[in-house]
Amino acid sequence: MTLFVGSLQLGLMYGLLAMGVFISFRILNTPDLTAEGSFTLGVAVSAVVTVAGAPWLGLLVAFGCGMVAGAVTGLLQTKVGIHPILAGILTMSALYTVNLAVMNASSNVSLIGKETLFQQLFAALPGLGKDGVRLLVGLALALITLMVLNWFFRTHAGLCIRATGNNEAMVRSSSINTTVMKILGLAVSNGCIALSGAVIAQVQGYADISSGIGILVVGLASVIIGEAVFGRRGVGVGLVSAIVGSVLYRILISLALSTNIFPTYFLKLISAVIVAVALSLPTVKIELQKRRIRREGRTHA
């Protein structure tokens, strides 16, 4: 039970990451590798600000810092003309040093015994219990971010970003500055990713320089699992499917963890296989449909 509730809590918190990845990967249509750096940036900033005594501010500052990181990638992509993948890699590795600097040259900042936002809420809402509080925070953050993003991508700027991802040439010929739109889009995307890191740091009780390793895979897998369930539709559904995908991904991982049949070192292989199976479901569905049509075609012929 803890495992399921835990997956739900973590899934919602990593859902912010999934939404961020969805923005760059699907809406802007660019592969953005900044995520590993900006996630850790969020973790580090949130931890440091929490140690200083302002856990809620930590989330906001982390979001802002993530936006700056995304904007840097955007500038490298557009103004400097560096290939999108390389631009992301450059920002990511630069952020490694930045993150160490944020944590005062230490690779690990402990939040154990510090006043995190969870500790504050445990004290303020004793009736909910710790699991309830974690769930509430995850749900609230995911919903608020979802609503804000859903609103944003329907404003003029948001629509321009979506159009840029769809057909850059057409947008530019309508006298819209695609450079600004790309930078803005990447900034919002990485802001969400850093926010995810910020809340994760507070729930896990420490910041570590390696927190972001493999995070992009987590985000992409969540987005694609979500699409396997909901299909590829508009922005609103897309954002919801990213969160649902993230929760499903956590549940799949915890299933992989709770099987005792395989030796421990199989973990990564098992999780990869589970995700691959989940991702192949749409194709299988289409194949089955085709087969049915063929069969029906034969009987009606």
């Binding site: 230490s106 710790k130 896990q204 390793i213 995070i215 963890l257």
Partner: protein
Amino acid sequence: MLYASVLVERTDAFLRIPRWQTDGALQPNTEDGKEGFSMKKLLALVAALILTFALATFANAEAPKTYKVGIVQMADNGAFTDMREGYIARMRELGYGEDVMTFDYRNAQGDMTNLASICQAMIDSKADYVVTIATPPSQAFLNMDSGIPMFFISVSNPVGAGIITDMAKPDKNATGTSNAIPIAEMFKLSAQLTPDVKTYGLIYCTSEVNSVTTINNAKAYMDQNGLKYEEAVVANSGEVQQAAQSLIGRVDAIFVPNDSVVQAALTVVADVAKEAKIPVYGSSAVMVASGAFATISISDTEIGRMTADMSDQYLKGTPIAEIPAVVVSDFTMVINKTTAAAIGVTLSDDVLAQAKILE
């Protein structure tokens, strides 16, 4: 408890089925020579299953108490694995046999997003206590505030990591061993074996809290004792070779802290140093086995064993708060003879008698 060990037995039994089937299917059955998978075998299988269940239930009915222990390891590397194996071996020696104590071992394989899920799984399975190897798993588990006691292994700065306030008085239901590297002893060894060394090269990864702690101690020691140093910092094991090469010509020896990133590529460092005929001082026996010249170390297995003794105290009734966390301080000199010959260092009989010699 009963349920848990039945489950273990059951998965064992299930695992056996496919092997039975393939055995039967691949080899012609000598008894009746026709079918690969006979009724007889099926019956035997059912009987075996029933017996397993019966035995499992019986064993539980007779055993006084069984323990379920969770082990969370950060990543796959030689040192961590030695610690884990040392721990398990010592618990078995202390009389916690397989029928009394089951280990639920999980490895995050370097991915921190897995740690929270792993820790939750441990709490979900109601482990009697949990053993964590390295700093992040210890922090992740402690932060869950589950009420389950924790024994940590290889946390070089437990107070800094926030898992204990005072090493002598564990206050967070957690105690264990810290393996701070004995810097002063290390440099004394170097002065004894290679007295001409004045400048040390330091290779380490800035992302590892353990190695940064050791490096800071080493720098402080060298500053006090008039030794010089040059640093080469890496972010992953792919950069280690260039880092080592960058030091050649500028330093008289290389010191590698307890750093899993550099350790993974230690053979490369050893080769570069051998060619330049300078010694590499490591911080674990594993490093010396990979070609480093010498170290003063406590074996990683021994750290695991010491932690096992602490768990034993707890199981025998001592509260966690009364089992002080310890900084391990029982060292041996480990020297690689092949490397010594390659870099032209002759070892005195005195040293040979004291040290543990690896080829």
